[in-house]
């Protein structure tokens, strides 16, 4: 392959050369660097010219998006910490969001608590195990939290007492990497607000 003639590539390189020449036409000072007597050295417009390409960063582009809000100063540490709960987690099967029998029992306990404490409000967190991609798990966690919320509403809990958030696979309860850990991490978690 080396040094062989390829017209396809010759066309490409020459076309590029021509384009470069077009781009530089205004200011070009053609400095012929072709070997003496090389074919076309005198007229080949492009390669010999040492172009100037300033690399100064373009001024911050006039993009349509105006920087509206300054970066939030408040660190979100609280978000990343596991909040203790007096209620069990509701657990799920892999890639599923059905509230199973023992989860329903837990929901009944939560519903009873809310009947006795009508001012209480719960945040229901939806979580997933580490398998699969983050984005899909984020939506799956949302569906799990919503499934628990809907079940509580079906038990007579006012919707206003409940809200949901998904953490996808970002906040595992058990940091392990086996089925035992995954089972604990596929959960809805109740946080008393």
């Amino acid at each position: 392959m080396k040094g062989t003639i390829s017209w396809k590539w010759a066309v490409l390189v020459l076309s590029v050369a021509a384009l470069v020449a077009v781009g530089c036409a205004k200011k070009q000072t053609v400095k012929s660097e072709g070997a003496p007597g090389a074919p076309g050295a005198a007229v080949t417009p492009a390669p010999p010219a040492v172009g100037e390409a300033p690399v100064m960063e373009a001024p911050p582009a006039p993009v349509a998006v105006a920087p509206a809000t300054p970066p939030a100063a408040a660190p979100g540490v609280a978000v990343t910490e596991e909040k203790m709960s007096q209620f069990d987690d509701v657990r799920f099967d892999f890639d599923k969001s059905e509230v199973k029998e023992d989860g329903r029992k837990t929901c009944q306990v939560v519903a009873d608590y809310l009947k006795k404490n009508p001012m209480a409000k719960f945040l229901i967190e939806g979580h997933c195990d580490e398998r699969g991609t983050s984005e899909y798990n984020m939506a799956l966690g949302d569906r799990r939290a919503t499934a628990v919320m809907n079940y509580l509403v079906s038990l007579g809990v006012p919707k206003a007492a409940l809200s949901t958030v998904s953490f996808g696979k970002e906040k595992p309860l058990d940091p392990g990497h086996d089925e035992g850990a995954w089972e604990k991490n596929r959960r809805a978690h109740f946080v008393l607000k």
Binding site: M1, G3, T4, I5, S6, A10, V13, L14, S15, L19, A21, G34, A35, A38, P39, P45, P47, A49, V50, G51, E52, P54, M56, E57, P60, V63, A64, V65, P67, A68, T69, P70, P71, A72, A74, P75, G76, V77, V79, T80, E81, D95, G132, T133, S134, E135, Y136, M138, A139, D142, R143, T146, A147, M149, T164, V165, F167, G168, E170, K171
Partner: protein, 434 residues
Amino acid sequence: MIGAAAGAFLLVLSLFPSPAFPVLYIDINAPGGKRMPIAVADVAVGPGDPSLSRGIPKILSDDLALTDLFDLIPPTAHMETVTAAHFSGKPLSFPGWKMIGAEAVVIGNVSVRGDRLSIEMRLYDATQGTLLAGKRYTGAPNQLRSIVHRFANEIVYTFTGVRGVFGTEIAFTARSGKSRGKELYIVGMDGQDLRKVTDNRSFNLFPRWSADGQWLAYTSYRTGAPNVYLRNVSTGAEKEVIRFGGSKAPGGFSPDGVWLYAGVSQAGNSDIYRVRVVGGAAEKVAEGWGLEVSPSPSPDGRRIAFVSDRGGSPQVYVKTVGVAGETRISSGTGYATSPSWSPAGDRIAYTARSGGRFVIASVAPDGSGAREVASAADGDCEDPSFSPDGRSLVYTYRKRGYSALKIISSDGRRQRTLVSGLGDAGSPAWSPGR
């Protein structure tokens, strides 16, 4: 001026049938093809740090080595010392370079005066003694690496006709120190210049580049709830763009920069929306009773690939924006997520489940020609993102708590580790070309 330009072009074309015009080239489509033997000479240093003499060729050589297109002739074999005179008329001794096997030679001349750096770089065909490419760059000293990357791109372009990707970057997420949160990071495609972008100790997820490389869209929990923000990579200025709904994850920008596509959950059901980056109401693009997430716009902006579990398990679908109907393009009954459209529009890479592990697969947008691109016998491969030249993919490798970002050639032949040692590194997104 236009007439003159056209004249120049015609002149070149008229020259082309001339039989004596050997041109060095590399066929990037020939697997295992012969590599170009190239010598990158120590550069001449005027005023400035003498270590630049070796430092600049090192950056350039490392770049070229990443392409697998070149054989680099070791500096110990070089016989000619490049001086400033080689940039003002003195010819190189091409027979000497040819003798050590070089078919191409790169020389450079650098000077640093105060905060001003100027570099001239030249690429010669050593077999013909002709100048193939030459550039003179000026900038600040801290732009040295980016300048050298630019000339490396020139070299690749000269020999292949395809612009190189040196100087491009990969955004990703990782846990910072002992924090349980995740921050955004950016790293050069050569693994250098790693830096932390966010520092709010919440969850910062799903970075996606705008088509001009100026902005990152991402989801942050810094207020307690997940919202989508746009962040200017240079200035750090931010703007909230998606606040409605529950969980949300940006998928990608339209190529014209007008739209941001995202998956957003409402009442537990995630659908695909798009919002104007300048603000305004969201438009629903794809919906169903299942979860619709991870929209990846095609390079022409007319279609999106996305994930839906409407068929019982997550699979990749393609639809034309604004037109009813969707086509499933992933096959099998397992699990297919996180599609990424190739820059040429001819392939879609995604995460597939195969034999209990996650692997990277790719398929044509019509669902034909599916093949596995990357897999690991001892772990999972996820979240592919194409390089701007389409020749490589960056993805996440995970094994029982260890994670790394890896880059693999699109044909699956070559692989290297980009980032390791950061906790739970993932969600890589390759920036557009520079």
